[in-house]
Chain length 405, copies 2
């Protein structure tokens, strides 16, 4: 039996691949992945390997801590304390309490529980094509995946950036109606949550005032503002450590995940002391693996690498160069509708889903891995490791022009 | 600031410790933990370090895979396939499909989603003091943590082993009433779930026929039987790889967690192809970290170590020796009500919660780490790494006799 057959025999999600002919990747190094047939691919997709595939600093941190001790947060250990200090410092200590868990899904699920405990309310406002994860509750908060007929009555859908950019006043009045409807149905919104690069909405830099308006709205209902920084965090969008900072707001709860351990399963929820107190009074939350010394070592290695190597500034600069090159291709090729995004999270909207799928397979032949997203699945998702350089961007720009011509 | 103050400043669950004076553990090796002041403790509590603290085989597996590649299940990789093969082989391929995730909570949450998707039903039967995890949904399935006033109407509570042992017929008729009530209220049970060593129920070997009866009951409502093997799995209870095997049943869904990666965050849901098909038709489940090559390497190292070192047989033998010694102490000391459990998961029920708390602090002074559990918190929980030997058991037996005398 070949690997594909063996996989189909025992894996639940066996047929989920990125490409028609699935890749068998055997090695990763910085921005490069290598397949079993020896072909090298430039990775412009995998944000999880935030500071580069197989980054030796993370490997060493994990290996050496795992060889020494791995326990849980019910014992005192330096690593988790140091990590909590490093993380909260990036929020100017306005948000000063961290809960550690293992995945973005767990983080968003916990954020919902915290918001409900603090507000005594039940509902949640999410953007129309959001993806926040896959637990029972978070699946509801992920209309990208959750079919309309399964949607429960505590979920209210609000427009994403596209609708806001189209008609701001209408966006605000419709969002208000949705929140009121929830409240009238006995599910007043405990929270509004948004992914601050709006990945599954088609990738958008936060339109000026979008978060500000939505945060004002949710707070007028005594709900909390949750910033899902699982994708936009750790400098990904350039200029700032966190995506929400682009709109000059301060959320009540922030969730972290994917890039946090460079692939090691670690995630977190950050909030204020007051909100944490409400939650702790009704929930004795404990997460067996969350914040264990090895996971915390991975987290420390990543955040320190980002800071020491000025990767936020780097993402901003390379991102600008990347966008500029893509925009110049867009002016030549009608098939490109728009180039969007910030830092090293860029979306290239094309005319249709089928063209996008073709482009992605075409880029694969050119040795370049990219993703596909958006409500119409017509956006090329460019989201490489943060160590991605101008020369890599140039290679992608050239290949996109070739493939789309 | 000392570590405790720094921890209080930034950790959400900062005050959750095992002991009045929290332990600062700096090193782990096999069944030993060492604190910052150089004191060595015999670890009779931490089941997560299943094959011994800092087991070099797991450390090497993680380190070498992390240095080579860490991606996700949307690429083909040998590790996850091999792990799925090793796991499903232990179920005689009656359950042949694995979904990988990061924690026992994620696994139990996913199991609920799968059961709901397959049955089209919503409710869940759980034992009265069960603990299954901490997501929004699984918190409901964890009456040990979820206060009665927060219990939602889709949860039905059934008696645990204590009630069953007390009056079998009554247990069956009351469970039936509970299931019927759920059904009549529009939440017909999609599943019955039980932790098969009944840890938070006070630690019980499955009473003969308990699972058989409950599985018959849930199936008569077209619901599924879920075996939560997060604590009882991987040979922990001796004789068998999985706890449910002690009652000669085959569940529809099994969840795995804690010991699976010896501390590395990995968990899984195992089910039949037919049930997986129902779930896949409505859920495009994907877990970013679940089953990544590094986590799978950790999982492979653990299950192979268990098999190669015959740890299941070992747990049975040492467990028998341990129970025998404890029972002989129990005959001498009235304060011990009962010694229960299987393999290396043993409960010693004492007269009261306060005596149990004192005993645990007393054992700490003797250099022995144990836990406390049960609906009345009057059970000493003994659950060491699986490499625990007779000589270690003897040390604990002696210390328990001393502390309780």
């Amino acid at each position: 039996m070949d690997l594909k057959e063996r996989r189909n025999k025992h894996l639940g999600n066996a047929e989920k691949f990125f490409y028609e002919e699935p890749l068998h990747i055997v090695k990763g190094e910085d921005v490069w992945l290598q397949s079993s047939n020896g072909k090298r691919y430039l990775d412009v997709y995998n944000n999880v390997a935030h500071i580069g595939h197989s980054n030796p600093i993370v490997v060493e941190a994990i290996a050496s801590q795992a060889a020494t001790l791995n326990t849980n947060t019910r014992y005192i250990h330096e690593n988790i304390i140091e990590l909590a200090e490093e993380i909260t410092a990036t929020f100017n200590n306005e948000l000063e309490i961290c809960y550690f868990c293992c995945s973005g899904s767990e983080a968003n699920d916990l954020a919902l529980q915290i918001a409900r405990a603090h507000t005594g309310q039940n509902g949640c406002l999410v953007t129309e094509n959001a993806y926040h994860g896959n637990t029972t509750a978070v699946f509801q908060m992920s209309p990208e995946d959750c079919p309309t007929e399964k949607k429960e009555e505590w979920i209210g859908l609000v427009g994403g950036p596209a609708k806001y950019l189209n008609d701001k006043e209408k966006h605000i009045s419709e969002s208000l109606k949705t929140a009121e409807k929830l409240k009238n149905n006995g599910s007043a919104p405990a929270a509004f949550i948004a992914d601050n690069i709006f990945s599954s909405e088609g990738i958008f830099t936060i339109p000026k005032g979008y978060l500000k308006n939505m945060y004002n709205l949710i707070r007028s209902f005594n709900g909390l503002a949750i910033a899902d920084e699982v994708q936009s965090g750790f400098g990904r969008t350039g200029k700032y450590m966190w995506g929400f900072q682009h709109d000059k707001v301060v959320p009540d709860i922030v969730t972290l995940g994917k890039p946090m351990g460079n692939g090691h399963p670690i995630a977190a929820v950050v909030t204020t002391r007051e909100i944490a107190k409400s939650f702790n009074s009704s929930h004795g939350y404990f997460n067996t693996f969350g914040g264990n010394p090895v996971s915390a070592a991975a987290g420390l290695a990543v955040i320190r690498f980002v800071n020491n190597n000025k990767l936020i500034e780097h993402a901003e600069n390379v991102g600008k160069h990347f966008k500029k090159g893509l925009s110049s291709v867009a002016r030549k090729l009608r098939v490109i509708q728009e180039v969007r995004g910030s830092g090293l999270f860029i979306g290239v909207e094309l005319e249709s889903k089928s063209i996008t799928s073709q482009a992605i397979e075409g880029l694969l032949s050119e040795g370049i891995l990219v993703g596909q997203t958006g409500p119409q699945n017509n956006v090329i998702k460019l989201r490489p490791p943060m160590t991605f350089k101008n020369e890599h961007a140039d290679q992608v720009i050239k290949a996109i022009e070739k493939v789309l011509s």
